[in-house]
């Protein structure tokens, strides 16, 4: 198998990498680039723990080949905080204790950020439907939904 050369932008920085055909974008992020925020849960697109954005679109990175990212812009959880300053969603997740084991949290934060970009004033139902592709087996979702609603309100005021 011949290696594939890929040029992409990740969280605003140009990144070049070489990968095999059968490596997913998630594999590349975690194993080649050290960006281990995105998690491998199910590996079949069901759980959303691997959520990233590609050209601004919310995507399961486990169902995208690393080779497909050529010329695209990737956004990961590592790009969410500005230096030491947490994104309002990250802060609200801490305030509401909207996580327990934390495996699903990076994917949920990326998905919630994307949700609020499309819909800055979601209803609780819209948050629940919008985040349906992100499974959490600890919290029962209640605190997650509250944190997202609270963050949305704060972001609207800002």
């Amino acid at each position: 198998m011949s290696a594939i050369h890929v040029t992409t932008k990740i969280n605003g920085d140009v990144v070049d990498y070489v990968c095999e055909a059968d490596e997913t974008l998630l594999d590349v992020l975690r194993n080649r680039l050290g960006l281990t925020g995105a998690k491998e849960g199910c590996s079949t697109g069901d759980c959303g723990a691997c959520s990233v954005t590609i050209d601004g679109r919310l995507t399961c990175s486990c169902l995208v080949l690393g080779a497909e990212a050529d010329g695209r812009e990737i956004g990961t959880i590592e790009g969410m905080a500005k230096g030491d300053e947490l994104h309002p969603l990250q802060r609200k997740f801490l305030e509401h204790a909207a996580l327990q084991c934390g495996i699903c949290t990076p994917g949920i934060l990326v998905a919630a950020k994307s949700l609020l970009e499309h819909n800055p004033k979601p209803t609780e139902t819209e948050v629940r439907f919008g985040l349906a592709g992100n499974l959490c087996r600890c919290t029962g979702y209640d605190k997650i939904v509250r944190a997202v609603m609270d963050a949305a309100q704060e972001m609207r005021r800002a």
Partner: protein, 329 residues
Amino acid sequence: MRPFIFERATSPESAIAAFHADRATSFLAGGTTLLDLMKLDVVRPERVIDINALGANEIEISEDRLRLGASVRMADAEAQEELRRRVPMLTQSLALAASTQLRHMATLAGNVLQRTRCPYFRDVSWSACNKRLPGSGCAAMAGFNRQHAVLGASDACIATYPSDFAQALIALDATVDVVGRRGRRQLPFAKLHVPPGRTPEVETTLAPDELILGFEMPIEPWMSRSLYLKIRDRDSYEFALASAAVALEVDGGAVRQARIALGGVAAVPWRAREAEQALIGRVLDEASCQLAADIAFAKAQPREHNAYKPLLGRQTVARALLQAAAMEA
């Protein structure tokens, strides 16, 4: 995943040229079905051709026609305000499917070509699956077949066809625009899929080198009176146990034209034409809608665990028709 050769195509012509008949080749678009099934070892391509850059992203809406490019993502078609207003059944069938992530990834052509969710097909540790291993049998027959088809199935396969969007396409008399080595052709959407019969491994009439370029359909003013009703175990991110795509042309209280397609209950996209006929000239009320629903499931063949489906399906059809009848179109 097993190793494979990766190639990129930037046009339909280059995608078809990259296709090698002698090596198992798959076209890769949204990847939500293909990479999933490659990881599960259900499909084993030796070559994968990335067709994400080949175009076919158009959404063209005129007064009386709609064209949707094959590569349009589900989320982008669903977000079209004009489509939501003029053919709500179409956008609802997309919005009610999958998750936000998957709707942003999956293409319309990939959606209609998605493989069944039959657990015996998706799990290679089951040795009997005629769709995966022709001639091996069907573990679902005597297995846990709660989700399986009651219409259009065969003794060789009772897998349910999973797409919601396909039900809107078949109800709208859509045409499929296809290109392959032998050139370009069009076929009715109703002729794209084939019932399992004795060869459940054959799912469509596409040649292996053929690509879908887009879908075209006539749209008429009355199609604003249409909807997609999906019944499932939970309210989001789940496949249908029963669903109905319905559109009604009503004139002076009586039905002039009806379209009914059924999801979650059949082996292929399913148009209930006899049920449609039964409504013509009738006033839409409990009795006429129930009659149409009964006709739609008259030939249903339930198995041990899906015996609830004909009743659930009839109730779904009747409710969808009554809801459409109550719409202000």
